[in-house]
Amino acid sequence: MPGASSWSFKEEDFKAISEQMNSLLRETNVKSLLLVDRSGQVVANVGEPPQFDPQAFASLTAADFSANDQLAKMIGEHEFSSLFHQGEKESMYLADIAHRVILVALFDSRTTLGMVRLKVKVTVEELTRLFEAMFARGETAAPKLEGFASKEAEDEIDKLFG
C-alpha cells in the first residue's frame, strides 16, 4: 500500500446509510446522529442540526475513540466497541462500525441510555453489513478522480492560493 487508504461512497450507499440512521432516529427519539470516520471526517448527519462545529466534533470523536482503543489494549482488551459520555442534560453514546466508522448518538432526557444502547446495537449490525459490503466491492479504495492529475487541475489549485 503506497499511502494511506482512501475511500469514497456512491449516492446509493449514502442513501442506504441515511435510511438506517433516520430509522434509528425515529425509534429512539435521540436528538441527532452523526457518522464519523476514523480519521475524523463527518460522513453523515441526521436529526436536529448540531449547534456546534461538526468538523471539530468529528475530529475530537475520532481522537476520543483512538485514545480509548489504546487504553483498552493497555488493560488487555482488544478494543472498546462502544463509549458512553454522560452529562447533566446532554449525553452521547458512540459505537464502532466495521473498525472504520463511528456512530454517535446525541440525546437528552427524552430517551434513555438503555433504549439508545438497545436500538443502536441493531443499527450498528446493519451499518456494519453495509460498510463491509462497500469496502469488499473494492470501489471505495484509492479512487482516482478524473482530471485531477491534469494541467487544468494544477492551474485551478494555483488559483486557489492567489
Binding site: 503506497p2 480519521s39 482516482k144
Partner: protein, 225 residues
C-alpha cells in the same frame, strides 16, 4: 485517508504537521487561521496543556475552494512535539493524506529534528504507510534566527533522499523553491535519490506558511488523480 463524497461532491483530506517540540507547528496553524477568510475555515481546536504546549493535537478545517467541480476541504492537524507524547502523536497520523515536517532550523535543535524525523518514519511504517510515496514536504522554520543552520546541513541531516530505482524518473529535477537544491539527483556515487520538497519559513511572521500549505495540498490533490 481522503474521503470523497460523490453525493455532495466534496473531498476531505487530512494533513498532519509533524516535528520536534517548539518547532512552530501550532504557529503554522495559527497563521493560517488568522489569514483565511472566516467563512472558509472552522474553529481552531487546541488540546493543549496549561502552558500552551500541544497535548494531543491542534485541528483546523480549511475550505480551499473548488477543483474540477469538487469542493476541497483540508483538515490540518498538528501533533504534540515532545518525545513523551508518542502514543497520542501516533494516533493523529491515522488516515493521513499529506505530511509537513516542520523542522527547527536552530543549530542546537538539530538532534531534536533528527529524532523527530526518525520517529515520523517509524510511526508511519507502523501503520503500513510509506513516507516516500505519500505527499510529504519539509519546512525549515525559524530561518530569521542568527543561529539557523545552513540549508545544506539541514538537508544532509533530515532530507538526504531515498533511493530512486525507477529509471524513468531518473532525471535531475531542481527544487523550485530553493536554488541549488534538487528533488531528484544523481549522487557522486552514481546512485539516484529523490527528496521531499523543501520550503523556508518564519512561521511567527507568516513567511512561507501558505507556500508550505500550497505545496503539500497540491501534492495531495494531484495524488487523487
Amino acid at each position: 485517508m481522503s474521503m470523497i463524497n460523490y453525493a455532495s461532491r466534496e473531498i476531505n483530506c487530512k494533513l498532519v504537521y509533524y516535528g520536534p517540540g517548539l518547532g512552530g507547528k501550532t504557529t503554522n496553524l495559527e497563521h493560517v487561521f488568522g489569514k483565511v477568510n472566516p467563512n472558509a475555515r472552522g474553529k481552531l481546536i487546541s488540546l493543549a496543556t496549561e502552558t500552551e504546549r500541544t497535548l494531543f493535537f491542534d485541528f483546523l478545517p480549511v475550505d480551499l475552494g473548488t477543483v474540477r467541480g469538487f469542493k476541497t476541504r483540508f483538515h490540518l492537524y498538528t501533533v504534540p512535539g515532545q518525545v513523551y507524547y508518542n502514543a497520542s502523536r501516533k494516533l493523529i497520523l491515522k488516515g493521513v493524506d499529506g505530511v509537513v515536517f516542520v523542522a527547527d532550523s536552530q543549530l542546537e535543535r538539530m538532534e531534536a529534528n533528527i529524532e523527530s524525523m526518525q520517529n515520523l518514519y517509524d510511526n508511519m511504517s507502523e501503520y503500513g504507510y510509506d513516507l516516500t510515496k505519500i505527499p510529504f514536504v519539509v519546512q525549515y522554520n525559524k530561518r530569521d534566527l542568527p543561529n539557523a543552520a545552513p540549508i545544506k546541513d539541514l538537508q544532509a541531516a533530515l532530507n538526504p533522499g531515498w533511493p530512486l530505482a525507477d529509471p524513468a524518473k531518473q532525471k535531475a529535477a531542481p527544487d523550485p523553491a530553493i536554488p541549488g537544491e534538487f528533488l531528484v539527483q544523481q549522487l557522486p556515487t552514481g546512485e539516484w535519490v529523490e527528496r521531499a520538497p523543501i520550503l523556508e519559513a518564519v512561521a511567527v511572521t507568516g513567511e512561507g506558511v501558505f507556500e508550505t500549505l500550497k505545496a503539500v495540498s497540491k501534492l495531495v490533490l494531484k495524488s487523487l488523480g
